[in-house]
Amino acid sequence: MSNNKDNKNSYLQMFRQMVRIRAFEEQANQLYLSAKMPGLTHMYVGQEAVAVGICEALTPNDKITSTHRGHGHCVAKGADFKQMFCELLGKQEGYCRGKGGSMHIADQANGNLGANAIVGGSAGIATGAALTAKRMGKKEVSVCFFGDGALGQGLLYETMNMAALWKLPVIYACENNLYGEYTKVEEMAAGDLMARAKGFGIESFEVDGQDVLAVNNLTQELVERARKGDGPFFILLNTYRYHGHHVGDINREYYRSKEEEQLWREERDPITNFSQLLVDKKISTSEELKSIELQIEKDAEEAVNYALNAAWPDASEVNMHVFASN
């Protein structure tokens, strides 16, 4: 167990990272609304405790794979605002030189193998990264983030089976935000969500995805065990997305009620509740937290302005990177 000072630092770090995700998404949404962002994007707001609770239990060498709703994972794994906004705007300085955009953002240096526009599409990649770690004797783990909707994809079950057979250090993190696009999870997934991985003999856990400490404690324990060869693991994280499926999904009442949205926002918000805990336990003060928030909002705004003024890729880039050089 870490001492109090370490605890304070790690708690504040988790708070900061959740606020960073929210500030990032707020700016991204504004970019869309003001027609400054090409295409659509999927907001992670509401789910911050999942990405942060998990990624704060990882080292930069540990790998993650992410989803179409991937900004939160990217920020939580240590990415920089400027390069992220540049990517969202298709600018040369973006993490992928503007070639990937929101749905393919990757941050190799921090172990983020990339968002993915194919639902469930990264199950193989995360499991393959775990195979590398095992084969090369590295003590790294990989985390595969995916939504409840990906439970419909056969690939997930094929890879879980192999991960279990080969005892790979991979954690399957299923973010159940109750909907896949405009359909409720119970209309898409039959039976018990927890029973799926268990069927392969994979130890499975369910956790409140709005409680960053609960997520972090569980993940720390599983990561430690996975490093020792006890993996794979499955975690079901119950959470909620506040925005629409994507930024253009404004009228949502035909598939979910305003009351439901309000309940999650007002009573289960991961940032509000964690702030309260930090103040109650005298780990921080509301003034300190407020000033952290303001600083982060300022950082996000600056990064957006930087990205808006950044250069487009040169036309010659279009043919570049089709093949890796030998």
Binding site: P38, G39, H104, N319, V322
Partner: protein, 327 residues
């Protein structure tokens, strides 16, 4: 005549056929209440109910396979594949199962299903939501492939597809859903394998599919200002392909450019150009030209993405080069 959107034309075709034939069902993600992300199927679940307009989990190979089995045993499923890029997920069910069943069973079994999906870049959706993969399926014997270029074609081809006793794949250009065109109130069908000459001409033949038809027409307009007469032909289905109409046109004009939004390498443009070379070689005054999407994954950045797709201006320039003997 009344004008309706491309999306409404698709919807109307499906509704009309569903009223006539109880065995038609729709399977796909968010096809019912949501009416698909492009809202093309809005209203169908209200009329036909959730027994016939069926929301599936995000399980593309699974529901495509179920459609194949249902089609073999008496239903006529329409599979809704949200993005053409997801064809890669269902290739086994579509190409190994659906396409080959009739042949492998010596004609005893058949698979009357329609797979409607989309194509087309420049929506800033990056490499996994922007591909035009028609060549991939047109390559497989046993699959028919339609590429409607306007609301009129969208309706007529969809109705024919639904009545066809074979697996038919329809590629809709997702940027075209709100485009309007004249569509008669009276029922009509468009036969597969019948190209449409949109604009007769004498100097050069422009053969264009789907999204590229508009570009070819725009080019033909600007070329006309320079007294160049381009004939624009839309094959409407690439499998079967109306070779006769294309070859006859090239015999008349002695010049041809083929334009399609799929990748140029091993693509639709390659196939059509090869057929012209085989059947009209001695009539040609210049090599047949091809314009396809650049052979790179579709980049996200708008400044790069716009470079990858053929445009009216590129067609215009290429025509001038061909006619001036600069190829």
């Amino acid at each position: 005549m009344r004008e309706i959107t491309f999306g409404a034309a698709v919807n109307e075709a499906m509704a009309e056929e569903m009223r006539l034939d109880e065995s038609i069902i729709i399977l796909g993600e968010d096809v019912a209440e949501a009416g698909t992300p492009f809202k093309v199927l809005s209203g169908l679940v209200e009329e036909f109910g959730t027994e016939r307009v069926i929301d599936t989990p995000i399980s593309e190979p699974g529901f495509t396979g179920i459609a194949v089995g249902a089609a073999m045993t008496g239903l006529r499923p329409i599979v809704d594949l949200m993005f053409g890029d997801f064809l890669f997920l269902i290739m086994d069910q579509l190409c190994n199962q659906a396409a080959k069943t009739h042949y492998m069973s010596g004609g005893k079994l058949s698979v009357p299903m329609v797979l409607r999906t989309n194509m087309g870049a420049t929506r800033r959706s990056a490499a996994q939501h922007s591909q035009s993969l028609q060549a991939l399926v047109a390559h497989i014997p046993g699959l028919k492939v339609a590429m409607p270029s306007s609301a009129y074609e969208a309706k007529g081809l969809m109705k024919t597809a639904i009545r066809d006793n074979n697996p038919v794949v329809i590629f809709e250009d997702k940027l075209m859903y709100n485009d309007k065109a004249e569509v008669p109130e009276e029922e009509y069908l468009i036969n597969f394998g019948e190209a449409n000459i949109l604009r007769p001409g004498t100097d050069i033949t422009l053969i264009a599919t789907s999204s590229m038809v508009q570009q070819a027409e725009m080019a033909a307009n600007t070329l006309a200002d320079q007294n160049i007469s381009a004939e624009v032909i839309d094959p409407r289905t690439i499998s079967p392909l109306d070779e006769t109409t294309l070859i006859n046109s090239v015999k008349k004009t002695s010049h041809a450019i083929v334009i399609d939004e799929g990748h140029q390498n091993y693509g639709i443009t390659a196939e059509i150009a090869a057929r012209i070379s085989e059947k009209a070689f001695y009539y040609l005054d210049a090599p047949v030209q091809r314009l396809g999407a650049m052979d790179v994954p579709v980049p996200f950045s708008p400044v790069l993405e716009d470079l990858t797709v053929p445009t009216a201006q590129q067609i215009h320039e290429r025509v001038v080069m061909v006619l001036e003997g600069k190829i």
